[in-house]
Assembly symmetry: C2
Homo-oligomer: 462 residues x 2
């Protein structure tokens, strides 16, 4: 049995005791229970001092009254009630406490001691603590939303992430919702009083459902082990890392947030993908989730605007990609699909023939993805073109989706999308077809470059 | 009379001849005429070989048949009809030709000669040419949309911009539409066969309605004069410059787009604000349009998420701003408005007390904008907070709008906004209150840093 196996009881808890729930609509505890009930198929034990039933479920006076060992306790109670709650648990009864409440180590004074007492009391009873000061945890494939986030992302084997920031956790679910991005697991370690990043990484490393890992982290309690764990993980799966507290002021901000010093880490594995912001991590995760890895850094660009095509070209080059001029042979093959004044050298500049795009884009995408002259394709869908719904369906159909065969199958495509708010719904058609869209040329180029660099590091590392 | 005065007849044309319009609904020429008719109060002369009336306006067989001197001719006709059209004009009859059609100098072969002939024929008749291969021009304060862009931005003295990219022009109008940003004037020079960037800059320099200038440019025909004109302009008004074709591949892309070599420029005035992309130019223009200049680089950060506050802090520092720790005095003054576990050192981390935000944000914003410890304020409105409509109204009311007095009047505020697509409408409330919102921490920090650097350069240059 591996040392980290117990985290299986956390992410795949067979049963959950919820403390601080009530029948009163609009209360957080009520909302939380409704959310868990909706998709979670394990046992749920509401705990309430007086109620017999809560939302139809048998309720218990206290945790010790629950006639079963408990995998996970989730308290939705004020800080001062948390320690008494832990004391009320029987020895060995509870495996994990997901301590959502804040008001512990992040307090300017006194909080650290309360937090230490919390962990001590929990340990005495054989209980591990995640948090406190945590947004919570979710496991999308298991229908388990033990977090303050209102919506569980769609579940699929893929992206899992770990953080110490509830705000970032909210950003994750919002991103998943805006882009219909599937996820596996999420955990906010908050003040990281007990269960720490390295244990989560060890778990993610062997977890079959986790195929891409994101780390948004402010503090690393054990940097040496962190280097080992991230290195092991990066050998098996893409690992995207956003380190916050890079500057002294950022470190100070982080300290007041989670009560832990920001520690820099040197000597990380070079296969680790560094994302400058949490949002960029999600952009990269989306690209990795939906598209294959590029086998090189040669970019083909297909654009409806010459100026923005040139801007994308500059940005690609500046971020380490190549935008090669197409061979005469390829240019000749592309020419019949284009108006005479469109350029075919790369970028391919279609000029704004929006109404023709649904007919022009598919054969060009097919030819480019089939050509050995590029390793990845960036296309722009901007302004008027974003209103042409048929274009999105045509693009989705033109991009191999894994059920077709052929060499070109292994080339990724990324879209630079710029639209009025009113046509964002058409972006959904592309993303529901697993074609990732980015709303600035800079992010499009940065994501393509980061993923291409990663592909290169994986190949050269053997 | 100044040498550039004739451009007044271009941007404020008293009358316009439209060639290639028709009564057939759905045709571009029909659409174009409808748009111009909607808001333009000058004379409009449709030109059509057979129709007597078009959309109720008297139509003319040819330009020479129009019984008046003409400020601006706008042809919506195929490339091959453009030269005959110019030849059909009487000598001295037309001041400006806005040559929208493409298929000239940007063609791989032959186009350059046709373009030269176009300019020669026009010159022989005393006519200046803007374009060809142009999206067109608009003057928002004059209700004049002589462009392919479907909507004219709201008009107000403020941002004007010039480009060679129709795609960027479309991005400009889309941005104005998404953010309700007011504008003054726009012009796409396209292949820049005759009227060139320096003339436009000279015009913008003396134009009272133009208070901020944007340049999105691929090629600079006369770099020496460009340095002079931008320097003169930057002395009077904020000038934001995005240079495309920075890399050899970008230059090649640009060449196939407008048929002109990309020329780098060294020795530009240091008051010029450099934007890495066209989108970033618009972000900066919005900040300058709606908010005063900061008088230094000390940032206050007010956030609902500690993690994202720390991320913003890192990004601000990395882009040259400062995030000073607040004095004990200021911390003490802020404390009563916050929960005990919220941090007041800077960033101020409110923790996710969303429902309290409409009460907490206004006094904090007021105190911070009044404090000499900061020069500019960044606040975050993210996830659940974006659904609290009352918060947006409260923030708009809390920010001085120019009708109030006091020292703090001169401090800018910028918002980092992250929401589900469904609550983007609440962002409008802030932006309609002239509080600029940015949808990534990176862009928020980059914009604040660029504007702060500009403010500093203006002050130190005297």
């Amino acid at each position: 049995m591996k040392g980290n196996e117990p985290l299986e009881y956390f992410f795949n808890a067979r049963n959950i005791a919820l403390v601080g729930v009530s029948n009163k609509e609009g209360k957080m505890g009520n909302l939380f229970l409704r959310r868990i009930k909706k998709d979670f198929h394990g046992e749920i034990y509401p705990v309430h001092p007086t109620e017999k039933k809560i939302l139809g479920l048998t309720s218990y006076r206290e945790i010790a009254a629950i006639p079963s060992p408990i995998d996970l306790v989730v308290p939705l109670i004020p800080q001062e009630q948390l320690l008494p709650l832990v004391e009320s648990c029987a020895n060995g009864q509870v495996k994990f406490l997901l301590a959502i409440p804040s008001g512990f180590g992040e307090l300017p004074r006194g909080g650290k001691i309360i937090e230490k007492n919390l962990v001590r009391l929990a340990k005495e009873r054989g209980m591990r603590v995640v948090g406190p000061n945590s947004l919570g945890m979710f496991n999308c494939l298991y229908g388990l939303n033990a977090s303050m986030a209102p919506e569980l992302p769609q579940g699929a084997p893929g992206f899992s992430c770990v953080t110490q920031s509830g705000g970032f956790g909210m950003a994750v679910t919002m991103y998943a919702q805006n882009h219909h991005m599937q996820m596996a697991k999420f955990c906010d370690l908050g003040n990281t009083s007990d269960v720490e990043i390295n244990e989560i990484l060890e778990y993610f490393c062997q977890d079959q459902e986790t195929r891409i890992v994101g780390i948004f982290l402010e503090s690393i309690p054990d940097p040496k082990r962190f280097i080992t764990e991230t290195s092991l993980l990066a050998k098996k799966k893409p690992l995207i890392f956003t380190k916050i507290g890079r500057t002294p002021a950022g470190g100070r901000a982080s300290f007041t947030h989670i009560g832990l010093p920001s520690v820099g880490v040197e000597g990380l594995d070079r296969k680790i993908i560094h994302a400058h912001t949490g949002l960029e991590m999600l952009h990269i995760a989306k690209g990795l989730t939906w598209q294959p890895l590029p086998r090189g850094r040669k970019v083909g660009i297909l654009t409806g605007s010459g100026g923005l095509g040139a801007e994308l070209t500059d940005l690609c080059i500046e971020h380490g990609l190549k935008v090669p001029k197409f061979s005469k042979l390829l240019q000749k093959a592309l020419r019949p699909f284009l108006p005479s004044y469109a350029s075919v050298t790369n970028p391919i500049d279609l000029t704004p023939l929006w109404w023709e795009f649904p007919k022009i884009y598919p054969p060009l995408i097919h030819m480019l993805l089939s050509s050995p002259e590029i390793d990845l394709l960036i296309i722009t869908i901007i302004d008027v073109a974003t209103t042409v719904e048929g274009l999105m369906h045509a693009v989705v159909e033109a991009v191999p989706n894994g059920t077709q065969t052929g060499d070109y199958l292994l080339k990724p495509i990324y879209v630079y999308w710029a639209s009025p708010h009113s046509t964002l719904k058409n972006m959904r058609i592309l993303e529901d077809g697993h074609i990732p869209c980015y709303q600035s040329t800079l992010e499009t180029a940065r994501v393509a470059a980061a993923i291409s660099r990663y592909g290169n590091n994986v190949r050269t590392a053997g």
